[in-house]
């Protein structure tokens, strides 16, 4: 199965700019389906971006983050060709992880 995470990391001078898009329903638990049943909450809780084993940015998300969440962040200390690991885990214990190379 294809990864649920799409990442683009670009080196610009000494700053790395990372954009990540995750495919996930991010159900809040407040929405009802067409039959009036509440759709149970299902959302990503934690997403980490790590470089050389160190977490650069850790995102703690609640159900108010949009469906198919998008995150952009910037950091220093990496260089072109370095590998980044992006992983997430949701409230039902599902998880996914991918690696990206800085372009």
């Amino acid at each position: 199965m294809a990864s649920s995470i799409r990442v683009r990391a670009v080196q610009n001078g000494d700053v790395t700019s990372l954009k990540a898009l995750v495919r996930h329903p991010m159900d809040s638990g407040f929405v009802k389906d067409s039959e009036g049943n509440v759709i149970p909450p299902h959302f990503i809780k934690v997403l980490t971006i790590s470089h050389k084993g160190k977490d650069v940015v850790v995102a703690n998300w609640g159900p108010a983050v949009s469906k198919d969440p998008f995150l952009e962040c910037r950091f220093k200390g990496a260089k072109k060709g370095d590998e980044l690991t992006i992983s997430w885990i949701d409230n039902e214990g599902e998880s996914d992880s991918t690696t990206a190379t800085i372009a």
Partner: protein
């Protein structure tokens, strides 16, 4: 800083335990090796279930935030679709360790918060859901103190109803 380090250590220890459990029980549907999955045990359940901006900041960071003009927020003044509102926060405050995004009128105010490591720049862009026209508050932790900035968004179609 000591607190941060301690938390990291605790998280690490818990991570090992959770990963072990997941592998042993086989309950958790894993697509990747358990060892690479992040650890959600430090996720602040209570802060994410607190209505009200000030209450949430107090719950999450244990302090009050003061207004700051050094926080730049970039978000639409009118959002046609409350389900997807892009929010960008940037700050010139020094030594930022955390950024939080709060939506004042959502059932639970806290939408997301980010741990910013030393090498990362204090810049975050994220998309949030908003139930109705509301203030969006960005909280930045700089030198261990909390600062905030507020901007209003008019929402024409709510993103939390059914």
């Amino acid at each position: 800083m000591t607190d941060q380090r301690r938390r990291g250590f605790l998280k690490g220890m818990l991570g090992v335990g959770v990963a072990g459990f997941a592998l042993g029980s086989g309950i958790v549907p894993l697509r990747v090796e358990a060892a690479t999955a992040p650890d959600a045990s430090g996720w602040p359940e209570k802060a994410f279930n607190t209505p009200g901006v000030d209450e949430t900041i107090a719950e999450l960071y244990g302090m009050e935030a003061s207004e700051s003009d050094q926080i730049t927020m970039d978000l639409p003044t009118i959002a046609q679709n409350g389900a997807v509102v892009p929010v960008t926060v940037e700050t010139t405050l020094p030594n930022v360790t955390g950024i939080a995004l709060l939506v004042a009128k959502n059932p639970n105010a806290l939408a997301a918060y980010f741990d910013i490591s030393e090498g990362a720049l204090p810049f975050i862009s994220n998309r949030l859901k908003m139930a109705e026209t509301t203030d969006v508050v960005a909280v930045v932790i700089s030198d261990g103190k909390a600062y905030k900035a507020t901007q209003n968004v008019k929402v024409t179609v709510g993103g939390c109803g059914g």
